[in-house]
Amino acid sequence: MKEFFLGVWEDFYSCFLENGSYMMYLKGLRNTIIMAILACIVGLIIGIVVTIIRVVPKKNKALVVLDKIANLYVTIIRGTPVVLQLFIGYFVIFAAVKTASFIGIKETAGIPVAAVVFGINSGAYMSEILRGGINAVDFGQMEAGRSLGLSWLQTFMRVVLPQSLKSAIPTMFNEFITLVKETSVAGYVGIVDLMKIQKYVTTQNAELYMPLLIIAAIYLIIVLGLQQIQKLIERRLMASDKR
């Protein structure tokens, strides 16, 4: 038994501590986090804009056309695998952009492209989540805002959206968590994210299981952190529910 733990420790030492190999994990982690945060912001913005387009009363033809485009976007994104979207984004649409370096770090050149692709992907799911939340808000809230002379958009942003976010927060965090983990496919296009580190470490140490375990633990810690943030936000939003 003792020998088993000793062996595990030795593997851990060689795969994480020796020769500063933890620096490699940190580098991967940094890139993963940059991608996840950027993608999250892009996804949220796209999600909100697309949702507005889909729920706004269709007063003119331009809005009807926009609505059709928004629906098409959601259908296509949800209907195709994220790796495929990443390939198309990386090698076709943004092929010219990815050579530039990003925030002064050379080896992160492809990250903004990947982040935008993940953001575009996440936006589709986010808009579905938000739409569900908005439909759950009593229509009287919108009518009350309109009856006071507020515009549709003013009422939506100040009254309807905040209320829909409250009911959508659990599902939204589900999407954030999925997003963080989904960035692990970035290695397919040569981005050095956390997942990709496994390959480097295994090449160096001929060790497979230990880097996988370490990476799994790091992802798990990120997700646990997100769950804590979710709880915090939910507690805050509960304020208007207290009786």
Partner: protein
């Protein structure tokens, strides 16, 4: 033509309102003109269209036909059937007139009127009625139309289910619209809000969320929320129907106070006592039309319409 008979003391005019929901005709030509200081109570059986009528007045429902005017400003699109001189420009009218004259009728004002009435009755106007007609409609619209949000800011509305903003505190509920619409600064709006809250004795509730309030408190705050906009008229859509019986009194009390202060009100309600006591005019809507319209005394003591008699005998037991 309506725009010719602008009367200064008429605040809101709903002219010949029709409203269809799909194939169901809910309103079939209702005209309601509200003068300054009037307190009009609208009663009628459920499904009669009285709430729809009220909601058409601030365009929460868009009328299928008809026009809504706020003072000299038009809130709805132009309804050509209300503008005879516009109909005269239409190609349908011209065609019918030529036909009538070749059939041997004399060209006169009377003939014009007859044709217009026929067009109106049979809904003969099509989408494409020629350039002249189109221009006339456009001109009218340009001259009178008003942004609906600006119009609604002057017409308060109180809902059956209160519809306070659940994500905002009571104070924020009262200040949101005046501040967002730049009618008041934040400080002015809050000052006004506190004054209104004090008036209804709920100043200690300024910073709580609506979910902590009773139904009566919610509705009174909904009423002062519309007052915070300093409206010219307030529309009440069954304000006491969703309340516990013991809370009806406090809401009616506040409404009576407003009435005494001279607030112009249109109230859809089942509270006959309120109608008798407060109304200057009572209207009975049934099957989408106004069946009777009278002073409260006449209305309740000597109703003429058969359906109204039956209705009153049931509700006044």
């Amino acid at each position: 033509m309506i725009s010719d008979k602008i009367s200064l003391d008429e605040i809101v005019k709903a002219e010949n309102i029709y409203k269809n929901f799909g194939k169901v005709e809910v309103l079939k030509g209702v005209t309601l003109r509200i003068k300054k200081g009037e307190r009009v109570v609208v009663i009628g059986p459920s499904g009669s269209g009285k709430s729809t009528m009220l909601r058409c007045m601030n365009l929460l429902e868009e009328p299928t036909y008809g026009e809504v005017w706020l003072h000299e400003n038009l809130l709805t699109p132009i309804d050509p059937y209300l503008h005879f001189d516009v109909i005269k420009l239409s190609s349908t009218f011209k065609k019918m007139k030529v036909e009538a004259i070749t059939a041997g009728e004399e060209d006169s004002e009377k003939l014009d009127e007859k044709i217009i009435l026929e067009i109106k009755k049979k809904d003969l106007l099509k989408k494409n009625e020629g350039k002249e007609y189109k221009l006339a409609i456009k001109d009218l619209y340009k001259k009178y139309s008003m942004n609906i949000n600006k119009g609604r800011a002057k017409m308060g509305m109180v809902f059956q289910h209160f519809n306070l903003f659940n994500n905002l505190t009571v104070l924020e509920n009262l200040t949101l619209a005046p501040v967002k619409l730049k009618l008041k600064t934040k400080e002015e709006a809050e000052e006004k809000a506190y004054a209104l809250l004090k008036r209804i004795g709920l100043e200690d509730k300024a910073n709580v969320y609506p979910s902590t309030l009773s139904g009566g408190q919610k509705q009174r705050i909904a009423i002062i929320r519309s007052l915070a906009m300093e409206p010219e008229v307030i529309l009440f859509d069954e304000p006491t129907s969703a309340l516990d019986p013991e809370m009806v009194g406090e809401v009616l009390e506040l409404m009576k106070e407003l009435a005494e202060e001279g607030m112009t009100m249109v109230v859809v309600t089942h509270e006959m006592g309120f109608a008798k006591e407060v109304a200057t005019r009572v209207i009975f809507i049934d099957e989408g039309i106004i069946k009777e319209e009278n002073t409260p005394k006449e209305f309740f003591e000597s109703p003429k319409d058969e359906r109204l008699k039956e209705f009153l005998s049931k509700v006044l037991m």
